[in-house]
Amino acid sequence: MTEELRIGVFICHCGINIGGVVDVPAVVEYASTLENVVYAERNLYTCSSEGLEAIKSAIHEHELNRVVVASCTPRTHEPLFRATCKEAGLNPYLFEFVNIRDQCSWVHMHEPEFATEKAKDLVRMGVAKAARLEPLEELTSDVIPSAVVIGAGISGMTAALSIAKNGFYVHLIEKGSEMGGLLRRLYKLYPTEELAKEFLEQRIKAVEEHERVELHLSSSIKDVEGYVGKFKVILDENGVEKSIDVGDIIVATGAKELEPEGLYEYDGEKVITQLQLEEKLRREDLNRNGIENVVMIQCAGARGEVVKYCSKICCMNAIKNAKLIKEANPDINVFIAHNELQAYGEEYELYYRDAKKAGVRFLRFPLEKRPKVRKSDGKLVVDVFHERLLMDIPLEADLVVLSTPLVQNPDAEKLSKMLKVPLGQDRFFFEAHVKLRPVDFATDGIFLCGTAQGPKDIEESISQGYAAASRATIPLAKGYVSSEAIISSVDEAICVGCGICESVCPYGAVEVVETEEGRRAKVTGVKCKGCGTCGSSCIKRAIKMQHYTDDQLIAQERTAFVTEREVVS
């Protein structure tokens, strides 16, 4: 840039917070001696309306083209000062923040001289960076006002319906030939004990009837490209390839029950899973077979046996099925062999007590001595180790029911690669932040709900479906997305197209593309979040991380203990 640098420095007293320790007038005096600084002043509170006015009038009066404020922390006040610069007609990215409160006056309270020296150094570094700042623009990009929901289980249907009701078009994609997911295989739901079938039918009807939901059954995702606002999803619908353009994507692919092959004498007939039991209950064929004893084994395959995690829903599900058996046939003995038992919340706790009252018997085993199933005289016997008696209790069983955990679908791996979103250690889809962004992926415009994220019951799946839908509706309703101004950029003249940047970018924001000059990296501005890992990885140092460029960081680091004049000489 050929324009003459005119830097203005504003040092804040922050009442006594800074001024009580740091010699602010001395810092102002020092700042005014620095290279390119044409104006320096101090304010009682730079963030007050007088302080902000002072910045604005100084920008005009002294024709400032860079502003440095030394005060508190950019983490709270940077947006305010940037906005002030903008109001005065200065590009907001020509502003630099120096923290002399949290890093100076508050942490060196008993060493005012050192604190003052440090404040001077920090201001000098800030001025050196400011001299190298470049104006940046925030990009905006239009959003196609429709969404794709992958998976038509209960959470996917809920999400699709919710988006449609908000006025946007939804493509609901289901790999199976009908909607409903796991819910389709259940008999009754806890704690209300309504029939899953009836519950599901209302939902299916609502989805089918909604004019803004387009259903794609027997469809699989072939490819996904694009970014928030402009995704292109390629489908294989019954062998026909289709391309759908949407603004954002919800992953609701669900989970499946672990098949307990080789565990507890599992055979699918006498030793079955809870889902197989639900099937039997639905057909009401338990009493027809003269079954007298049912033993359920909790945590079968979970918590260290096959998978490490607790599947969360199996306790309540087993209690429900046990209670239903007992209530329908009081003569059948039903045992639940468990380690811990989760019946959380008041409602579930009451339900558990009802099950006990109905005659379901609970037996606790230690996790390191899980029950064993054996055959004796053609009959099944389950040995449950009793913690107090320190011996096996043999339970005769006509039917053994294994409460197995939910596990990720095998095709999730492929989908995660297509969408460039991560799977966690347990192979379930991994959200951006467990507490702060529970239904977002780190990648903008892709959201998550239901058991694809981990085991959860119907109620939680529905809540998450609503949550994901409301998150997904935000860009659709706004109609545009604005990206960070602080993004990386590639110098094509230096880039050799090696692709190392592409491999480190967690957002798929850098890609190697064919150009007339050969293979070159290209940054998609709206996808970039500005971490700069591509820049520090680039083998030719061809990537510039805006606002944190090599030049700027080096200028800061070199002026940490010497002046800019000494650096230049």
């Binding site: 100076c104 309270m109 780190a442 090696c498 967690p506 971490c531 700069g532 083998i539 680091e557 940490a560």
Partner: protein
């Protein structure tokens, strides 16, 4: 600043360590005033070249603060940071500087007290080491080596090679990786030392004796440097060819 005070520069990631430093402030946890903080968005942004340049310009210690593993705001930036800092440490060692002068620490936004504690500890460590001492040529060679592609590839790909393996699915053991890193760092560092020596024309023997390297090793580097057009033959002096660097390769 008094003579005996050591100078430290810190690069802190915006989301965790910088926030932790803010919390130390808000909570008034006192710590020594030796470090000057530079804010970056992610510890993964911190380039080994910049770290070494910071030492070159007189810092006695450099501190990098990132998010705890698994907490990175950008998912994996801190893992890459770890490998890059490891590379910078290896190069520091080559340049005759104690690797302990460079420290990477994970500090979360809620660990204000810990940040102050780490500051006290690190300042003490650096004070014990005293002011930094190095040969300018050696540190410059380390800087240029960090800027060159081979070590940059290795620092970035290390994670992948250890976890997923190379193109042929061969996963490196820690031991193999260390050996590869040692070899590559030594090779690159030697080559850059030679390159810097060749600001004036020199023969293989002269370089070998000045850098205390074997002549055949120097000759191999000379051939490589020539192939990459970084140096050229200068003149024949007493039946011995001399070489000179083509372009002044400065440290940015």
């Amino acid at each position: 600043m008094k003579e005996e005070e050591v100078k430290i520069v810190g690069f802190l990631c915006n989301w965790c360590c910088y926030a932790g430093a803010d919390l130390a402030g808000v909570s008034r946890f006192q710590y020594p005033p030796n470090m000057r903080i530079i804010r970056v968005m992610c510890s993964g942004r911190v380039d080994p070249v910049i770290i070494l340049d910071t030492f070159l310009w007189g810092a006695d210690g450099v501190f990098i603060g990132g998010c705890h593993p698994g907490d990175c705001h950008y998912l994996q930036g801190n893992y890459y940071a770890e490998k890059k800092i490891d590379m910078a440490k290896r190069l520091l060692k080559k340049a005759g500087v104690e690797p302990g002068r460079l420290r990477l620490e994970w500090v979360s936004a809620s660990e204000g007290e810990r940040f102050a504690g780490v500051m006290k500890e690190f300042t003490e460590e650096i004070k014990e080491l005293g002011p930094i001492k190095f040969e300018k040529d050696e540190m410059e060679a380390a800087c240029i080596a960090a800027a060159d592609y081979s070590l940059r590839i290795l620092a970035t790909k290390e994670k992948e090679l250890l976890e997923e393996g190379n193109k042929y699915g061969e996963v490196f053991t820690r031991h193999e990786m260390d050996r590869l890193l040692d070899d590559m760092v030594r090779e690159e560092y030697e080559a850059k030392r030679i390159l810097l020596k060749l600001k004036r024309p020199m023969s293989v023997k002269e370089i070998a004796s000045e850098l205390n390297l074997k002549p055949n090793v120097v000759f191999r580097h000379i051939l490589d440097l020539k192939r990459y057009e970084l140096i050229e033959a200068h003149e024949i002096r007493d039946n011995t060819p001399t070489y000179i660097a083509k372009v002044e390769e400065g440290v940015e």
